[in-house]
């Protein structure tokens, strides 16, 4: 029994109140085995995720590893999800028979897919959720690497920025401003203004990671990016997840992004030294900012913010220390706040 058939059998047996252990086993193995048909989507449909089906209904699968096909035995409820629990029950029974000496922390051979734990599934969910976004990261990372070399920041500090800062737009602005010999204070201030929106992400994610230790929370904080934030907060809102699964999902998404970013930075740095100036690749930097700017303009007040910021920055660009970006950003935020306050008033008048 595979695919839709298995799922149908599972749903029918759950609906009848008498879950059929066979269908649970087959559904789990089908859903959790990596296969060509993106089985995880089905997993989300099925009430609360397949690994919890066993847990909720308290059955262990029969007929695994050539065992007798006897009646389902209720499994005691435990904190963690089904597959782990099934393995524990099975191991306990087998070791009671003396067939299998108890081994702590290792899975019995024969059903690795069945025993995939919820956190591992969440980690790979995070990885695959990030995959489509990586396409946009690649050129960005390459351009950063090239800009790091062209601005004179150099390979080591370029990689240092990618590893330590791990925030694309701020890194790119830092490199650009250093290349223009901007006062260091202004470089730092501009980079931090760009990352100010991370405050918002931090506040929004905080309740989901409140259970972690101090060091764990620093680790999570390091991985906060636009992409990982957007994916995680969407996923956390879509289905019930245990705290450990949330951490695993976030880490999966961040790991994919982090690796891609570092690799692209290094490739960009390696390539950057040999790019002729006639290619005007420095122009790619404002193009990246432009590609990020357009989606950020979501409504009329953010459009006003962008217009005011652009105008102010262009007029102030002649100022010493490259203060134009900072002045533009502050003007833009103020314009956005003011527009937002005025807009509802105008609607009431009309």
């Amino acid at each position: 029994m595979k695919g839709p058939q298995a799922r149908f059998a599972l749903e029918r047996s759950i609906a009848s109140g008498e879950p059929d252990p066979q269908s649970i086993v087959f559904t789990i193995s089908w859903l959790e085995l990596p296969g060509p048909k993106a089985p995880k989507q089905i997993g989300r449909d099925a009430s609360c995720g397949t690994h919890q089906v066993c847990y909720l209904h308290g059955y262990r699968p029969a007929r695994v590893d050539g065992e007798s096909d006897d009646l389902p035995v209720p499994v005691p409820r435990r904190e963690y999800g089904g597959p782990v629990l099934v393995s524990t029950a099975l191991r306990e029974r087998r070791s009671a028979r003396g067939a299998d000496p108890p081994r702590s922390g290792r899975r019995p051979a024969g059903y690795p897919a069945l025993l995939m734990s919820g956190t591992r599934a969440a980690f790979s969910d995070g990885l695959s959720a990030m995959a489509p976004l990586l396409v946009g990261i690649v050129p960005f990372g390459l351009i950063f690497g090239i800009a790091a070399v062209e601005s004179g920041v150099g390979p080591a500090a370029g990689i240092g920025l990618s590893v330590l800062v791990f925030a694309g737009a701020a890194q790119l602005a830092t490199v650009e401003l250093i290349g223009a010999d901007t006062a260091p204070v202004v470089v730092v201030a501009t980079a931090l203004v760009i990352n100010a929106s991370h405050l918002m992400y931090s506040a929004s994610l905080a309740p989901h990671f409140a259970g972690l230790g101090k060091l764990g929370r620093v680790g999570i904080a390091y991985g906060v990016t636009d992409q990982a934030y957007a994916l995680s907060i969407t996923e956390f809102g879509r289905r019930p997840m245990r705290p450990a699964e949330k951490v695993a999902f976030f880490m999966g998404a961040t790991a994919a992004l982090w690796l891609t970013w570092q690799v692209c930075t290094i490739i960009g740095i390696a390539v950057g030294a040999s790019v002729p100036e006639a290619w005007s690749l420095d122009f790619a930097v404002p193009l990246v900012f432009l590609a990020l700017l357009i989606p950020a303009v979501a409504d009329r007040s953010s459009a006003a913010a962008a217009a005011a910021a652009g105008a102010a920055a262009a007029l102030a660009a002649g100022l010493p220390f490259n203060l134009g970006v900072m002045i533009g950003a502050v003007t833009g935020v103020a314009a956005g706040v003011v527009t937002e306050r005025l807009l509802p008033l105008r609607r009431e008048e009309g």
């Binding site: 396409v135 960005f140 601005s151 004179g152 150099g154 920025l161 330590l164 800062v165 602005a173 830092t174 250093i178 010999d181 260091p184 980079a191 931090l192 990352n195 991370h198 405050l199 931090s202 506040a203 994610l205 905080a206 409140a210 101090k214 620093v218 005007s280 122009f283 790619a284 404002p286 193009l287 990246v288 900012f289 432009l290 590609a291 990020l292 700017l293 357009i294 989606p295 950020a296 303009v297 007040s301 953010s302 459009a303 913010a305 962008a306 217009a307 910021a309 652009g310 920055a313 262009a314 007029l315 134009g324 970006v325 533009g328 950003a329 935020v333 314009a335 956005g336 706040v337 937002e340």
Partner: protein
């Protein structure tokens, strides 16, 4: 090319890194905190404002002065790229088209 020496660059890298981690850690680290509503409203406009402040001068200004003539190839290429970004929402297409338009204009005029 910068005239900064390596130690100064590393200091900047370190401070930006520490500051960024501080911003990200702020609420995750201090459990129970909340962003005050007015600050949250203002922060919403940061991405649009900062990115516009970085983009517009790079497109408008040529050798230190504002140039909105047809001679400013970067402005034309930027406008086309903006149109592509608007319609496709694709980073790669935006950069690709913008660069090709710039190269074409530079080669022809």
């Amino acid at each position: 090319m910068t005239t900064f020496d390596a130690p100064l660059i590393w200091v900047i890298v370190g401070v930006v890194a520490a500051g960024t981690l501080g911003l990200r850690w702020s609420f995750i680290g201090l459990v129970g905190g909340r962003v005050p509503a007015p600050v949250q409203r203002a922060l919403r406009f940061v991405p649009a404002a900062v990115l516009a402040a970085l983009t517009v001068p790079a497109l408008l200004r040529l050798e230190g002065t504002i140039d909105v003539s047809l001679d400013n190839h970067r402005l034309i290429a930027g406008a086309v790229a903006g149109l592509i970004a608007w319609t496709t929402r694709n980073v790669l297409a935006t950069i690709g088209v913008g660069m090709i338009v710039l190269w074409t204009l530079d080669a022809l005029w």
